[in-house]
């Protein structure tokens, strides 16, 4: 709990900066609204205002700045506007019993969560299988490991539209599949690297001890290498699930998806409703926080069960 206060202070500072930035960002729009409502604005013409610097505008019209905090389509919404929009599309709809209506963020978060989950599962399986192969086969280590590293230097988003086209040509109608593939691609690498480290973490003495017991390869894998790798596995799973979520949202962005948080961002962009974008971003942040916290909790429980926690 000792680290709580500094974190709160930093968060408060970020919020304060955000609120302060709203005024200059929205100044021009606010003055346009003020002019339409008949308030006296200097310079009176929209054209001339466009050419005056924002700070000059704010100084000359300090009485009208407050309007920037209540715009319907602001360039930069205030934190409470985002909070309101978020509540209106989640909690309020859930209270009305429409939690899974297509306008509700809960529905879109659920779609994103599903793809994230499948991508995470696929990426974890591929990562662990690859790590076992690399630890046990010298050939795999020599030839596959460099490509695993190179694969992460390739911007996967460049491939995203292609993966969608390919999967639809192959007759896969389900929109979740390409998204899951993209998030698995981002997710497998941290798991692979962590597991290679983890499976190699038993010392030579420990391996020798098992050999003196004449343990089979399978037994020494199950009883020594696998348990020893679990702390590493959980650490990489936490990175992996965040990467999987990023992958899903990236997969939803450029592909004309109609549901999911990424699609909300896309639609918000096309219809010029910034509040929808911001609330979808906030929902994605919350989702990421919840997923990582859940995994951290699972890690604590599992490691304590195995006698790791102190």
């Amino acid at each position: 709990m000792r680290g709580f206060l500094p974190v709160l202070a930093v968060l408060a500072a970020i919020l304060a900066l955000w609120v302060a930035a709203v005024a200059p960002m929205n100044a021009r729009q606010a003055l346009d609204v003020a002019e339409r409502e008949g308030a006296a604005v200097t310079p009176a013409e929209s054209r001339t205002r466009f050419e005056t610097p924002v700070l000059t505008l704010m100084l000359r019209n300090s009485g009208e700045i407050w309007r920037g905090y209540g715009l319907e389509r602001p360039r930069l919404p205030t934190p409470w506007q985002v909070g309101q929009e978020l509540w209106a599309t989640t909690g309020e709809m859930a209270l009305e019993g429409r939690a899974f209506s297509k306008r509700s963020l809960i529905y879109h978060a659920w779609i994103t969560l599903q793809s994230t989950f499948w991508g995470f599962a696929l990426g974890t399986v591929v990562g662990i299988a690859g790590a076992i192969g690399i630890v046990y086969s010298r050939t795999m280590e020599l030839s596959v490991m460099p490509w695993a590293i190179i694969s992460q230097t390739i911007p996967i988003v460049a491939l995203a539209p292609m993966i969608i086209v390919l999967s639809s040509q192959l007759g896969i109608e389900e929109r979740g599949v390409p998204k899951a593939v993209i998030s698995a691609y981002l997710c497998f690498f941290p798991v692979l690297v962590g597991m290679v480290k983890g499976l190699r973490s038993p010392t030579a003495e420990q391996l020798d001890l098992l050999r003196t017991y004449s343990a089979s390869g399978m037994a020494s894998f199950l009883k020594l290498r696998l348990p020893a790798s679990l702390p590493y596995l959980f650490t990489s799973l936490k990175i992996g699930i965040a990467a999987a979520l990023v992958g899903t949202i990236v997969g939803e962005l450029p592909t004309g998806a109609i549901s999911g948080l990424g699609a909300r961002i896309l639609i918000g962009d096309q219809f010029g409703t910034p509040l929808a974008i911001w609330s979808a971003l906030a929902a994605a942040a919350i989702l990421a926080g919840v997923l990582v916290t859940l995994l951290g909790w699972a890690q604590a429980v599992t490691l304590r069960r195995m006698g790791g926690g102190r």
Binding site: G3, L5, P6, V7, L8, A9, V10, L11, I14, R75, S137, R138, T139, E141, L142, S143, V144, M145, P146, W147, I150, Q152, T153, I154, P155, I156, V157, A158, L159, P161, M162, I164, V165, L166, Q169, L170, I239, A242, L245, V246, I249, V250, L253, P254, L261, G262, I265, L266, G268, D269, P274, I277, W278, A280, L281, A284, A285, A288, G289, V292
Partner: protein, 281 residues
């Protein structure tokens, strides 16, 4: 026929690699280079064999040779896109974001309170899908490369910030005491001890950020760009079914990502030659 040839090549290459891995040259540099190259070549040959052998339509998946031809014939277009997306968008954003992150880290480093508060927040933000702000920034900064650079700045900022803050606390108490016995000033300690000690962490952040910068620059182009740029070409190419051009762009993007990563890794080897992970065994 072609398909079987490709599969045969695959088996042969795998046998060569397995033999190399068992041979007594297995730790030499040549083998460490040859094995992955063979593996990559195998994938290309298999791809070619599958596409040609099964008569896959080029609209679905072009063969590597088609893509290579396209790269040769449209190199002008590819270069234009490359300079728009990578040189203007990604590179300028990367430089601005990286220097801003390092300077911020040095600035907040003097206060333990701020460091303790910013580290968890920065770690959390680094895990968020920040690409999502691309449409907002395109809206703010316009369609040209400035908005792409802005997206890249935000994306690379937090990983580098977190790594730098961690790296600056890396110098040990003994070393700092030694600097104090030399009557070194804060800036001297920072410049001669703590920044060099932080370099492995900094480079870790720089390496993560190279890929992020490319992703940011390309995704931001999906939300509006002038009629050039890799992201623009990819999103329109898919719609116009010129898939081989899309794959050519992907090849350029992949190559750029790998080369950028390699350059940073090379610089890391030069700068942090003293670190255990860089020592030659």
């Amino acid at each position: 026929m072609i398909l079987w040839g490709a599969i045969l090549f695959w088996l042969a290459a795998w046998a060569v690699n397995a033999a190399l891995a068992r041979s007594r040259y297995r730790d030499t540099r040549a083998v460490r280079l040859l094995a992955p190259v063979l593996f990559g070549l195998t994938i290309l040959v298999l791809w070619q064999g599958l596409v040609r052998g099964l008569n896959v339509s080029p609209v679905i998946l072009p063969a590597p040779t088609d893509v290579a031809q396209r790269i040769a014939s449209d190199s002008g277009v590819l270069w234009e896109d490359f300079s728009q997306t990578v040189l203007k968008g990604a590179l300028s954003g990367y430089l601005i974001g990286a220097s801003a992150a390092v300077l911020t880290a040095i600035a907040i480093d003097r206060s333990t309170f701020l460091t303790r508060g910013l580290l968890p927040v920065g770690n959390f933000v680094a895990a968020l899908p920040i690409v999502g702000i691309a449409p907002i920034l395109v809206n703010w900064f316009g369609f040209d490369w400035h908005s792409k650079a802005a997206v890249v700045v935000v994306m690379v900022f937090f990983p580098i910030l977190v790594n730098t803050v961690q790296g600056l606390s890396e110098a040990g108490a003994m070393q700092k005491d030694l600097m104090r016995t030399y009557a070194a000033s804060y800036w001297q300690t920072l410049w001669k001890l703590r920044l060099p000690a932080a370099m492995p962490f900094l480079f870790n952040g720089f390496k993560i950020a190279t890929t992020l910068a490319l992703i940011g620059a390309i995704v931001a182009e999906y939300f509006g760009s002038p009629t050039r740029g890799m992201g623009f070409r990819i999103s329109t190419g898919v719609g116009r079914l010129s898939i081989d051009l899309v794959w050519a762009e992907i090849a350029v993007a992949a190559l750029t990502g790998s080369v950028a990563y390699g350059l940073v890794a090379l610089a890391e080897r030069r700068v942090t030659f003293w670190h255990p992970s860089q020592r030659k065994t």
